[in-house]
Assembly symmetry: C2
Homo-oligomer: 144 residues x 2
């Protein structure tokens, strides 16, 4: 139980789903390549790379299952764009996003997370999922 394939398989067993060739290929592509992706761009890529047709519907359906399995998370920008990224081997879900170049930086600061958890505890809230997004201008884009 130590790869994303195994994790997904376990989830599929639980919901009585099947691990098809398409799902395997999609999972492969998600976990082996770029971390952040938008569905339409991903669809193009998976079609290009895997050398055959993948229907839009199947990609959407598989992404949904991966999301429900907790293997990927959804990032929605204030402008309404939807990104996904895989969680595998990661604990945090926080991002700094440059409004100019679109680059996404992870936040590795444990102290922020602890502060948030402490606040939740204080008001009796039991947190399940957290999303912290900071938008602005990255160092490089400021210099331009």
């Amino acid at each position: 139980m130590n790869s994303y394939h195994d994790t997904f398989k376990t989830y599929l067993v639980k919901i009585e789903g099947r691990y098809t060739d398409q799902k395997r290929a999609i999972v492969d592509e998600i976990f082996k390549t770029t971390k952040h992706f938008e569905v339409e761009a991903f669809l193009d890529r998976v079609r290009l790379r895997k050398g055959r047709e993948f229907s839009r519907a199947t990609v959407y359906r598989t992404i949904k299952q991966l999301f429900e399995a907790g293997l990927i998370q959804r990032i929605t920008t204030p402008e309404g764009r939807v990104f996904y990224e895989h969680n595998f081997g990661k604990k945090q879900h926080d991002h700094i996003i440059c409004n100019v170049c679109g680059k996404i930086f992870p936040i590795e600061e444990d102290i922020i997370h602890k502060q948030i958890e402490a606040y939740c505890k204080q008001i009796g809230f039991s947190p399940e999922y957290r999303s912290l997004h900071v938008y602005g201008k990255c160092k490089k884009c400021q210099e331009k």
Copy 2:
């Protein structure tokens, strides 16, 4: 320059827009009532309260202008639901959201904000907009 109407008016002057009856009524409704709202529900309410027809398009267009004027912010949940809320007289943009009852709690903790700003400074990122959403179960819903 101390009411939301004035602030919006200033913005409209800047973009050479006009302050119409519909806009005034929409702004009134947003700032005088519930803090968090979804567009369709708001549309129903404004039609009910103001006793006349407001077109969907006008409501969307006005909300967009208010967003661009910085008077309201957009909250997008990981599930893709879009909420708006007014910023007037507030400094923070962070929320704790109960997955069960849907209630939204503000985060008033300055220490979290400072920590985030410190981290951005550390990596040379210049933050413009921040959104922190924590999902889980609120105290009441845990007790049920």
